[in-house]
Subunit: 374 residues, 2 copies
């Protein structure tokens, strides 16, 4: 047990070696679905690199059977390009025909981060939901949004049922030191993931949760819980018929200073509601893969693998693989200078932000109408 | 710490020495209210022997200000004479002007005793609620009844808020080994007690919880939690303005075989829906304070203090103190024979059951109508 690797979903983890992690935790490579879903940039570029039981989702898509996608948002800080990736994945899955379930983890935010429900509400609506819609989420399709603090009795009941099917030591092995608040958070998260399969949501169905590997312990626990809820006991009934959730695993783009992109470090991210000027400043100050001198750069070429500006191209700004390859070659051959490249990036970001912020404004009214009914 | 007395509310505790317990846990004697409330048999006979902060309730009664009484029922087994005492206390407090809050602890029953929500529902309605009404509870007055599994979002939210204001070690000190299910039970119980003070229930008010001393640890914990929820923090708001709950403490009548009266031992109790014949048999087999031989009985007299039949007189069957005293004297002087006394008791029980069961039948329709709206 002592040598077992533990991923702590509560701490900030820099995930270095995705492959080793996949082997350790039994995550399957997503490459088998690459050809089928190559229209998606994140699939095409192996940013979505792993999965558990995505075959179930694939099957449902092929056979046009019901399936859902579930994800939670932490209502804290600004919505930035790191969050945009997940939003794009949500929208992609919606376009593939999935029922979309998105939860504002406002109880977790209050319990673990002292964020009041009122603050959490505004952040979920203004930062997350409105940006989702501006990016292309269709509220009129099968879309369910809820706050952990304000949902159905059936959901809270499921959470209580779950508390019977999980042991204290099991939680401790995953989450370390436990408080009643942490236990509440964990049980709520399991209910978030499983409740799309409740009878009132038309029952048992494949549900996929797109996550970073740091969230995998939650997933494994919830999969175990699902099996227990689904188990037939003595009296030949079960607590709740359900299928263990599927998951996809994505890489994270780095922050502009290197390291993690995080809402709590302002220079690490660019928010989607940020002014072009601020965005430009941040890009111009970003950590690149450039060499110490112009001479070295010419001789050795740049290192796009180490460049946070290049991350922006890969994740968001350059959709065409050939165009991206040209930049890569230009950089590694030493022809591309970081200053010019940053300007190029800032221009693309500006173009994106201007267009996005128009859509954001339009989305605002629609979202306020929608949320009033939640 | 090792020498500290611990009362475990999850185990069956035979409480021998009420006075010592009161001193150990700081429970005040109820005697100061005896004169005022002597019309109540349980007060008159010191069966309600202790309290915490009942002055607040007394004050509210005197000044005709709002106050509430809260209690939970465990939806398991038959409703018997042990339960009748608490029902009588509820009805008494309703008649004194209290808003009545009664909860079916069906989540706790499921988590701790494997009772399904469906079983719990039927027991709560058929055994508890209908007997309450037959005994005199007025559903048309300010009466709130809920199932832990099926209540308001605000109630579940309060429970989650509570989970932030309590530590793991604190729970462990009271409840011993903890499971996620046990923690859910405990947090739910605290929300049960505190939610009558929520804004939607017209806010802060004195609430009294009538309990046996074995339930005191819950009460002390909930009082501490209330203080924390009510505490003003940095930003000069509080989680939830509320007053620590008051409590009264009552003795327990013994089971007919001696020891605890318990739904799980059929010969220990008489159910209020039981046939007179079965009830008579149980009484005739009851453990009394009689001596080994008729001769000894004549010489030494009986021991009503040790007699479970006498408990029935004290708690339920003989309301008049003089009449009770006559029985006591008759017994201790050796004139009263256990056989005759049991017949006398069985006759009184029969008379009660016949009358009660008529009222029960009538109450059934009213309760079904009421519960359909819960």
């Amino acid at each position: 047990m002592a040598t077992e690797k533990r991923i702590d979903p509560w701490a900030s983890v820099d995930v270095e070696n995705y492959k080793a992690l996949m082997q350790d935790f039994g995550i399957e490579p997503f490459s088998k679905f690459r050809e089928k879903f190559k229209a998606n940039r994140y699939v095409r570029r192996d940013i979505i690199f792993g999965h558990r039981d995505f075959d179930r989702i694939h099957n449902s898509i092929t056979k046009k059977k019901p399936w859902a996608m579930m994800t939670g948002l932490m209502p804290s800080g600004k919505f930035h390009f790191g969050h945009k990736m997940l939003a794009d994945i949500i929208i992609w899955l919606q376009q593939l025909g999935g029922q979309i379930y998105v939860c504002s983890a406002d109880i977790e935010a209050w319990l673990m981060r002292d964020i009041t429900l009122e603050e959490g509400y505004r952040t979920a609506v203004d930062e997350y939901l409105t940006n989702y819609v501006a990016l292309g989420l269709d509220l009129k399709k099968d879309f369910t949004f809820w706050f952990q603090s304000n949902y159905t009795t059936e959901y809270y009941r499921l959470r209580d049922m779950i508390s019977k099917r999980v042991t204290f030591n099991e939680l401790k092995a995953i989450y370390g030191e436990l408080s009643p608040g942490k236990i509440t958070s964990v049980l709520t998260q399991a209910a978030d993931i499983l409740h799309p399969q409740l009878p009132s949501h038309n029952g048992k169905k494949p549900v996929v949760v797109p996550v970073g590997v740091d969230q995998d312990p939650h997933l494994r626990l919830t999969r175990d819980i699902a099996s227990r809820l689904d188990a037939v006991r003595e009296n030949s009934t079960r607590d709740f018929p359900c299928i263990p959730p599927s998951s996809t695993y994505h890489k994270f783009m780095r922050g502009l200073q290197g390291g993690k992109m995080s809402s709590s470090r302002e220079n690490s991210y660019i928010a989607l509601t940020e002014s072009s000027e601020t965005a430009r400043k941040k890009v111009m100050n970003a950590k690149t893969g450039g060499r110490a001198t112009a001479e070295e750069q010419k001789k050795l070429g740049g290192q796009p693998e180490a460049c946070t500006v290049y991350d922006f191209f890969v994740y968001h700004l350059i959709d065409d693989n050939k165009e991206l390859m040209n930049i890569y070659k230009d950089c590694t051959s030493g022809n591309r200078r970081c200053g010019d490249c940053k300007k190029f990036c800032a221009d693309l970001i500006e173009k994106f932000l201007v267009g996005h912020q128009k859509k954001y404004k339009k989305a605002k009214t629609e979202v306020e109408k929608f949320i009033a009914k939640v």
